[in-house]
Amino acid sequence: MSFLIFILLTLSSSTVHSTPVDDSQLLRDFYQQQLPLIAFSDYADGVYAFDADSKAAWLDINQFPPYEFSLEKGKNLFKQPFANKSHYADCFPTNGIAIAQLYPYWDEEKQSIITLASAINDCRLKNRLPTLTYESDEITYLMAYMADTSRGQLINTHMPNSALPAYERGKAYFYQRRGQLNFSCASCHVDNAGKFIRSEILSPALGHTTHWPAYRLKTGKLGSLHTRFKVCNRLIRAKVHEAQSTELRELEFYLSYLSNGLPLNGPSIRK
């Protein structure tokens, strides 16, 4: 089914590829048809849009979320001045508050995708500090704080023409089958969105980038979107790319553009 969509997408445009706008529309129409009961705004809640029982338990835990301590650490890390008396706030617009929806974006000069995590490290380099390991607690806490201040902001990923090749690569990754189980991201998150895989509901790709970092009840800690990409690939026995590698950034870029218009609601809780 997803292969069909891929063909449709490639054939639907008259010249080379369909535009990102067309892609998004096609996929949203597909979801609308497959999942008529899910309203657009519900996609921001992921699997909880599908099951009232688990949503009730999720909302219950959300009333006093267990990630509050990590969030507090993130806030303190964010506000702590660097050795040169500068702050993270000086690297970002509006002092770093309510800006997570601007990421990821295509940087014309650097000809690469900048994610929030890489922006944090760029800020550190600019201030002569060592970079943080991408899946470390410290960077995750910082991302949690910055996401929290951005709660409710609508995802608004820009797509300049020079970003199209990166977008296409991210899209190709999404639809490419891989690993021993020979799944593509689309196999589960498009073809079977809303259905069960063993005892879990598969979330649709629309809304995938809204709720990060996510506190996993399983691990008892916050994890980033790229950590989740890695786990997913490991589970389908595919090659695991490193967090913030070009491949995963392009995938995030594609998914983020798909989710344009949905509100950010991270950090959040997942199982």
């Binding site: 688990s54 338990a57 999720w58 219950d60």
Partner: protein, 152 residues
């Protein structure tokens, strides 16, 4: 005469001590007992926590629990009850290796209301026992705990 005075003072001290202990006594759990939280099957745990007590089944204890726990690590529960004078509440998970999760005392100034988050090993009944003076009440509710899919 002196002996009688000594006896009188002794009696006075004893009575005052008992009186003061009655005035300040409330339900207290005392020290944490490792044995209560030991590994044993549910029947043994219930028998040892409530020896020779009848745990009357009641509809007057309400348990807000998910029907299916997304992850057995964190199961949220809210216990409410219309039974008067509940002084102690016990939460047990039938098939956990250690069935007793927690016990709480409740002062009369508190409502019969407790919220908590606990771990469940597998699908089983969550048992809540409430003690109101000399009466013990129980209620059970099944929670399904599943083993993943792609959550890893």
């Amino acid at each position: 005469m002196q002996i009688k005075r000594r006896q009188f003072i002794k009696k006075l001290l004893l009575t005052s001590l008992t009186m003061s202990s009655l005035v300040f006594s409330k339900i207290s759990l005392g020290k944490w007992v490792a044995y209560d939280f030991g590994y044993r099957p549910i029947e043994k745990s219930l028998n040892e926590l409530f020896p020779n007590k009848t745990l009357k089944k009641t509809y007057k204890i309400n348990l807000k629990l998910p029907r299916r726990a997304e992850n057995g690590n964190v199961v949220p529960i809210t216990i409410t009850s219309s039974i008067n004078n509940i002084d102690t509440v016990y939460i047990l998970s039938e098939k956990n290796p250690v069935p007793l999760i927690a016990k709480f005392t409740l002062d009369p100034s508190l409502e019969a209301y407790i919220g908590a988050r606990f771990k469940m090993k597998e699908t089983c009944d969550v048992i809540v026992v409430a003690k109101a003076g000399d009466d013990y009440y129980q209620t059970r509710q099944r929670v399904i705990v599943t083993l993943g899919g792609c959550g890893g």
